[in-house]
Subunit: 259 residues, 2 copies
């Protein structure tokens, strides 16, 4: 999504050239290029699909069929992780607690199905500014409290610096999640201000904002975690630029600011 302006073949070629070993994919461009064609494309390039984004949206509709489809797609793409964005409040609802319970219900249905296909579900807490319209799971602790109702190889969490950086309780939650083997994805974006209208597309390039990214990487790795680190930037400015240039810049920033 960081370079959504790049068609998949160009993205895969650029990853190979830049030495990027893995890529997180989103369902929409995969569907557009074709699921089987995408699976072949990444396989032929020797590229790992670190995760598929996204299932979820459990709170506003009975999306179980579509989530089963997303699990199948993840399996076909050869990734072991499906990222879940849980969904916001149903229209007109003011019942946050109820919405959060519906997520647990949906996970109960989906976790066994995912497990049979070798796919782990990763609950992503989104920044509290998205609680109403995108995701009622707002903290890493909440996500983890949901995840621990299920086996660790079936349900875990996503640690995304953009969503959790402000939370003084997040470091302890990272330690708890890591110790339990429940960090199923680790994503980076920086926090910059002012936020754009709608707040969705303001995620900062690594190093442009106020998150201590290196400390977050060390914090996650200190739990024994050793997976791929994804960079997920929703940023109007980056999307308007040349995608290869943005990808190259992002790898440089990653080396300078994260490693």
């Amino acid at each position: 999504m960081t370079v959504r302006q790049l068609p998949l073949p160009a993205l895969v070629a650029a990853c190979t050239r830049l030495g990027i070993p893995a890529v997180g994919l989103w369902r929409e461009p995969v569907a557009e290029y074709g699921l089987a064609a995408t699976a072949k494309l990444v396989r032929d390039a020797g590229l790992t699909v670190s995760s598929l984004c996204r299932g979820g949206f459990f709170t506003t509709a009975a999306n179980l069929d579509d989530n089963r489809l997303a699990i199948d797609e993840a399996a076909t793409l050869g990734t072991d992780t499906l990222v879940l964005v849980s969904g916001g409040l149903p229209p007109g609802s003011r019942d946050l607690t109820g919405a959060r319970e519906r997520i647990a219900d949906a996970l109960s249905e989906l976790a066994p199905y995912a497990g049979e296909r070798g796919v782990r579900l990763a609950i992503e807490p989104l920044h509290p500014m998205f609680a109403a319209d995108r995701c009622v799971v707002s903290t890493l602790s909440q996500a983890l409290d949901l995840a621990v109702r299920f086996p660790a190889d079936l349900v875990g969490v996503v640690v995304d610096t953009y969503h959790v950086w402000w939370d003084d309780r997040a470091p302890a939650a990272v330690a708890r999640a890591g110790a339990a083997g429940r960090i199923h994805a680790f994503q980076l974006a920086d926090w910059t201000t002012p936020l754009p209208a709608g707040a969705l597309t303001g995620r900062g390039q690594l190093g442009d904002g106020c998150i201590d990214l290196r400390t977050w990487r060390r914090r996650v790795e200190a739990t024994g975690w050793s997976g791929f680190i994804e960079v997920e930037l929703f940023n109007d400015g980056l999307w308007e630029r040349d995608g290869l240039e943005v990808l190259s810049e992002t790898t440089s920033r990653f080396r300078e600011r994260v490693l």
Copy 2:
């Protein structure tokens, strides 16, 4: 601030007419109208000043002198509460923990000064989307953890529904704060989406959003708290309308949605 388009005399007259017993004032319009003149205006109208907004901004500058001035102003206006917005990260800083510690340092200096003048300091946690640029205190629990280092009659917290509604731990923090006599202000605004650019001026009119305001009132009052309830809306749309109409609408909404 909800009707900042109203000059202070018009605001005070409208409060009297609408049966509003108390008003929260901001320092800027008070300074513009004159501190002594404002104190006389509200006193003559029999109106209570529920709080003065705001001191704080401890993290980016040594604002102690200005905060002492704010305490003096509060005392002159006859209010017992000065609301504190703590400040964001200093420019270029990525040290959230350090910024939070500086707030405690400033409170140590200011609390005795405020106590001698009969003014309580009220730490307002702001929504995490403001952590970088306005307030590194992002949850009620954090605010309370800071407050409890000082006597309850000197330092407490603000419960503002707009800032804490998403937080599953906020209800427990309300109970803890109330039991300790540390709820020094209670403010209402509703959460509406999409957020406007900059996120600051999108606070919804009561009932327009997804916060269960009545439940929050009951939750606060269940602790034994019985103070004035302030409605604090930063809203471009409301500011563009006739102030008397907005104030009247707000009192109606308060009766329908809060009481």
